[in-house]
Symmetry: D2
Subunit: 492 residues, 4 copies
Amino acid sequence: MYKERQRKQNWKYCIGTGRLGLALQEEYVKHLRQLQEEIGFRYIRGHGLFHDDIGIYQELEMDGVVKPFYNFTYIDRIFDTFLDLDLKPFVEFGFMPRKLASGQQTIFYWQGNVTPPADYQKWAELIQKTVEHFIERYGLDEVLTWPFEVWNEPNLTNFWENADQQAYFKLYEVTAKTVKAIHPDLQVGGPAICGGTDYWVKDFLDFCRDRHVPVDFFSRHAYTSQKPEVTPDYYYQELEPPENMLEQFLSVKEMIKASDFADLPFHITEFNTSYSPINPIHDTLINATYLAKILAVAGDIVDSFSYWTFSDVFEESGIPKSQFHGGFGLIALNQIPKPTYHLFSFFNQLGETELYRDDQLLLTKKADGTIIALAWNLVMEKGTGFEKTIRFTLPIESDQIWFKQRKRLTERHGNPWGVWKQLGRPRFPTQTQIKLLQASSQPLIETEQLESGQVIEQIQLEKNELTLLTYLPIKDETPTYPGLDDGKLVSY
Amino acid sequence: MYKERQRKQNWKYCIGTGRLGLALQEEYVKHLRQLQEEIGFRYIRGHGLFHDDIGIYQELEMDGVVKPFYNFTYIDRIFDTFLDLDLKPFVEFGFMPRKLASGQQTIFYWQGNVTPPADYQKWAELIQKTVEHFIERYGLDEVLTWPFEVWNEPNLTNFWENADQQAYFKLYEVTAKTVKAIHPDLQVGGPAICGGTDYWVKDFLDFCRDRHVPVDFFSRHAYTSQKPEVTPDYYYQELEPPENMLEQFLSVKEMIKASDFADLPFHITEFNTSYSPINPIHDTLINATYLAKILAVAGDIVDSFSYWTFSDVFEESGIPKSQFHGGFGLIALNQIPKPTYHLFSFFNQLGETELYRDDQLLLTKKADGTIIALAWNLVMEKGTGFEKTIRFTLPIESDQIWFKQRKRLTERHGNPWGVWKQLGRPRFPTQTQIKLLQASSQPLIETEQLESGQVIEQIQLEKNELTLLTYLPIKDETPTYPGLDDGKLVSY
Amino acid sequence: MYKERQRKQNWKYCIGTGRLGLALQEEYVKHLRQLQEEIGFRYIRGHGLFHDDIGIYQELEMDGVVKPFYNFTYIDRIFDTFLDLDLKPFVEFGFMPRKLASGQQTIFYWQGNVTPPADYQKWAELIQKTVEHFIERYGLDEVLTWPFEVWNEPNLTNFWENADQQAYFKLYEVTAKTVKAIHPDLQVGGPAICGGTDYWVKDFLDFCRDRHVPVDFFSRHAYTSQKPEVTPDYYYQELEPPENMLEQFLSVKEMIKASDFADLPFHITEFNTSYSPINPIHDTLINATYLAKILAVAGDIVDSFSYWTFSDVFEESGIPKSQFHGGFGLIALNQIPKPTYHLFSFFNQLGETELYRDDQLLLTKKADGTIIALAWNLVMEKGTGFEKTIRFTLPIESDQIWFKQRKRLTERHGNPWGVWKQLGRPRFPTQTQIKLLQASSQPLIETEQLESGQVIEQIQLEKNELTLLTYLPIKDETPTYPGLDDGKLVSY
Amino acid sequence: MYKERQRKQNWKYCIGTGRLGLALQEEYVKHLRQLQEEIGFRYIRGHGLFHDDIGIYQELEMDGVVKPFYNFTYIDRIFDTFLDLDLKPFVEFGFMPRKLASGQQTIFYWQGNVTPPADYQKWAELIQKTVEHFIERYGLDEVLTWPFEVWNEPNLTNFWENADQQAYFKLYEVTAKTVKAIHPDLQVGGPAICGGTDYWVKDFLDFCRDRHVPVDFFSRHAYTSQKPEVTPDYYYQELEPPENMLEQFLSVKEMIKASDFADLPFHITEFNTSYSPINPIHDTLINATYLAKILAVAGDIVDSFSYWTFSDVFEESGIPKSQFHGGFGLIALNQIPKPTYHLFSFFNQLGETELYRDDQLLLTKKADGTIIALAWNLVMEKGTGFEKTIRFTLPIESDQIWFKQRKRLTERHGNPWGVWKQLGRPRFPTQTQIKLLQASSQPLIETEQLESGQVIEQIQLEKNELTLLTYLPIKDETPTYPGLDDGKLVSY
């Protein structure tokens, strides 16, 4: 009835994180542990490897001469933590250590320096010593599986001084050649651009071809939010439809195919609805529902797409000022999962075989016969109403008995942001309030036994509801209980 | 408006357990740990201290002479476990070690011997050595807080050979005097009778008076089930109304008051709806709802009443033959809480001050101002319908803002027995089925912000629903967020 | 210099356990968890699958007919526990459920029935339903990796009524054919004999050949203790030299090779020094030292040899009467590891490549260059003295710097039995005493930096000392610390 | 024989920590959890409450006006962590938020601003809002137990601009009065001076008297190191004898007694040998031995003395550049306890009754009869030798049997710094090296049974050895084992 195909797991290939220095924090690690236990991503990517809070690049006077000194105390602790949680680093080289920087320009509350190195020789040595240290500590076989990406969004002036393309290409070339000199099978790539200047795609690949610069993957970012309305504490933005993101992926994919590197792996190393860490959309139900189609489809186009980011332990706009504040995180402060966290969890519960998908339904099956479907009702308009009924045929034989479990994310269930508003939006919730929020952060669960012979499902969805449906084949053992008769129970 | 009084916590003074030897089991300890972390009883009472599976009383040949040997390996492990979980033993002396027994009569699948000692001298020494060992291991101060109860239900022929009252009085006297000889402040009591022969109350107390036998507390059991309809695997029983149990408590209390021991502490060392471990009533929602009034009221009459029992790790009728089988436990096999577990948990969440109570509502308040109410709708008739609306006035000032959380136990939520039926009543559920059952074992949670000025509550209850209502006074911090406007969010 | 060869890991293929019903106990699971975290065996084998404490075989009246009823509640919990700890069952079919037994003869305190089935048809159905249930619960792929062994030591009259060989062959045939009828790739074997009647080897294999009975492996047990001196509480026995056990393995191996099943896998499903669970030898240092050569060599002869048993949670001679009592366990009551536990742990720390071995030394190396040696000084004579110096050449280049760690098991270190004697042999130790015992149960650790150029090691061993030596190649980073001078520290 | 007196527990009243912002880190919390589980301090004190990494003081534009905004996100998380570990904050008000500072002067790698407030009104409001928030979150009863100390070492120019006494007095007065205005029972004190300018004692107390400024306790710091020899990475310093520290305590105590606040509680809110976080002395054995007398005696003089600090998770001199680097911590990086950690642990294992003490011995007893002694052999001279024998009489009756356990800290045992040197001083140790260091970080344990009648102890101590001796009264149960004879065991 349905045509089966293996589901790609690209949606859980990589996850974004706030700057790596935050990985020293206990709250961060708690969120990451929950994420890995429940979902289990393979890679993690974030900024700040060379930022001064981790402090790899330092200088030391020895015998009257000032020399670079490489301090791996913190990065070892961080990567040990990741690997211990079965996460590999998707390494981003950046930003510039203050003592190696050619300029003063910084980005973010935590002041990442975004200027080129003052001395490319020292930059190359920093790359070399760092990667060699990784190999010494974790073994070559392990490090060969880590992608190394050069810088972040150099096509933006706030991330790379003047968005100077030639300066970036120089940085890329020095870096890539340094990495490959350590071992030719280490993987290096870029240019980690955001959308808006896609002529960089051809420019970058042509540059690599012309200068014989190694490139093992191409990386880009993608967001679908429009120009923001800026208020003191928040950004508000309209969103393009979800298809817009898929189109971004496809159009760059076409450019790569048209290049001399047609088969180059293509990683979306950041994506989300809004690129702003103070847009409340990230806390809402619609953020999850909106992304459902993207998670269902994008893996057919790109090799990975990394949600930006897993946790509200994040400081780009400063220390979070409130329990909910529009942060990117799948998990809010105090370890409270948002609806988008459940979206990823739902995807992780799907079967490994896809039977069918469209704009509101993804139907899958497991090897053990369980059927699992994800259904959603994306409504970007304001107002009430908009319920929808989704009908589909269950791929089941009529004489089998089925148990059905439904997990529902709605405005009233699995929506801690809504409960937080009911609580009066406490900035610094008490332990009592935190427990109330956590208790309300789980999907609503409904169960039933399907009527025998039922093959047509009709699922009623609320506005922006996201529902996971599990159909488990069962055997009715009731006849094996001699004398059983519930009707003899009081009130039954 | 309401008259405040301190709530008594007698409902969580003591909890019943299957025979003590089961406390060696890992599954048992997991259930008990959950119970203590979420509720926190003070004492635990069960049969089998002297049963041969714990094996305290043994015989050893030394220099050609057979002498008693006391083996404390297992009971030490068991009491260490209890104390580690902040539970004290409510010690029941019994049943008879096989080698000390005068007869062959046993009770239960696990064959507890219910005959008098063959040698009262040896029985006395067993009591003495055992209690002295407890004192040596746990300290006198600790053991002075442990009640020692002599035997179990000697008024029944299956628990005490011939239900021989004189034989019991002799056992009691020997035991009580042995205990008191160790230390006069050790607490000893009895007669642990079940209902039906309450002339034992006067007989026992007169005996103690006449013979100058020490008695520090009086104990009795209480169930409200009628004559069973017996099927191969199940007992089915009608129940008396809940008031019947309170009347049992009161009538015995009156007898004690009328005796020479008017102020004697009075412990119900077992209570439940049905006394049968294969009556499915224990797995149902109505079992919880039925007991709500009893938990609310009984503490005013008796010093404790101990629910029989906390876990389906229990073997009186044999090894459990199925996931649900009518066992007494608050927690079913595979660590699945039943509705009655939540009843106790709800009671534990109530405030320490009682404002009001009737047959369907218990209204309380905490020191921090939180108001917590328990409402229930007990319906012992069969059939559908029977919804009920409960109205009450909230003791709140009108200018305060309140957050309200409702936790609901209904047939469709927090009812794993119902889900298990939907699953086809699997006897030995798979890990997948266990996880589904656990996921469905929690109450439904609903939240809202009360409309300003609302002081009259109207709560709609389903048939046999049990609902916990929490009203938290809050402060609306929304005005402190400059530029906040949810209306600018997509779809809101 | 040394000839390298891959070390076989047969020594950790399987571990013995007290009867399976004990696996329900928390203390048992704690010991097993420690064992698996620190060593990590692959299989576990014990008696009692069909014993009535697990209660698989039961009878139920239904519609007036008594039929077999199979209760998997406990065995599911037990096998779930094993698999959760990465242990697979090495299934032993036995002993006989009371209701299926043809006679009354039992073995052990826990009364395992050792008589043939009263009805071979029902026995076959029991095997079939049980194995089918395992497949249903754990999957065919998993169960195909579980060996099924028929009965235990049928060549002894106390384990099999009259040690009746023909009756055993019949049981074996019925069982093996039933298993193979479920799936031809399921593995079945026997006869699980102990030493002393090795004519059974030929008899059994001839029988299988002649009757075309399936056999996938051959199993035997081996102990090296001589006739016991029996006292009320203890067995004392002289031991054959360790080579005796290897000779037992070899001689049976030769018999198998000479049979029509020359390549049949050969499992020693039980081995130890003494076969008595009340021989204090199991608690001593010499038990570990004695077994060192056997663990080093036996894997070259047999496919597995399973130490009997991992824990003193064991009841064959009754409930343990004392902290130490001569039990088989690697781990004593209260989770205290004995010297033989450390022997296995030391073997687990060795490198995967063997360089050299003799009667007192096993020299190995890891892929990362670490050299690890086990040295021992077995002295079976009484009296003091007997120190020995072991010399060997380290396979190292002279310009490399090495760090050396030595872990020593001696009478004074890693010997909790000795500390227990100093404590006055408390039968039921207090928590304070337990902590003292645990604190003294670890090997003594000594460290140093090898002198540069040192290639000859001379290790001084005390009587019966067992020592693990680890040589780690290091880099001296001292020159990278500017200004470092320990001589400027107070007192250095 | 000995005169008994209750031991004061002032030595564990308070512990020092690196700046509070570090308490967000996972490694920090792991160290603190170990400390609390094994020792259990009551208070914790560190710098940086108002530092910008915690970011309490911020500014926000609202309706066009810039106003202070108080962000409690991080401090709530930090204090929740402390209280969850049974630690109360000993609150130090400081340093100055950058936006509130009058100047640019900072201290430490982490740049704490040490200038007076630009606006005392805003400072007072910061104090008020912060303390009020603590009361709202943790309750008044809790916060009334927290001491509030004003600033840190204002008598040093690098901690307080110009060490301006009058400016400090102004800051103190504003702060103290603000605190007392919230609640008169809140405790406030100062001046947290270090040694060297003790005329501040009289000046400060006279000021409080003259200006009627509240003061609830007096605080000072104490170190015993002399002028440093400075090298690029380390400070080396001679130490005054331990008595020097006790004299510092006494002389200030006398000044307080002579003031108008004679009974004022006196807290040493920091002490250690060296005040430098890069003096390797902190990693050594002698650091522990040196402090033994101080821990034994100082509690008789001062109300608390707070070791500076519990962990090498510390950044005053930058990110630690190596596993061992001379940090203050009781616990080194990678959770490796130093000898001084064990000194505190040994003190925690002593009995609650003191029998005797001198310069090398502290003899105590527990309520259960256990005798526990700490003995040490402080040698500040260089060179080998210096063993010493300590003799003392055990307060025991001759017919009692005793078990003796000795825990030894020597250069070869419980000295991970020494092992690290053997490993070649790896800056960033591998996981293998970390495990080797952890395995070597525990004291050597020796046990024996005392010979009957022994009452004179002679303990041989190595140079700078620190030894804990535990004497446990025991009962010899050997006679209760019929047939026991170790001589029948092989080789015994």
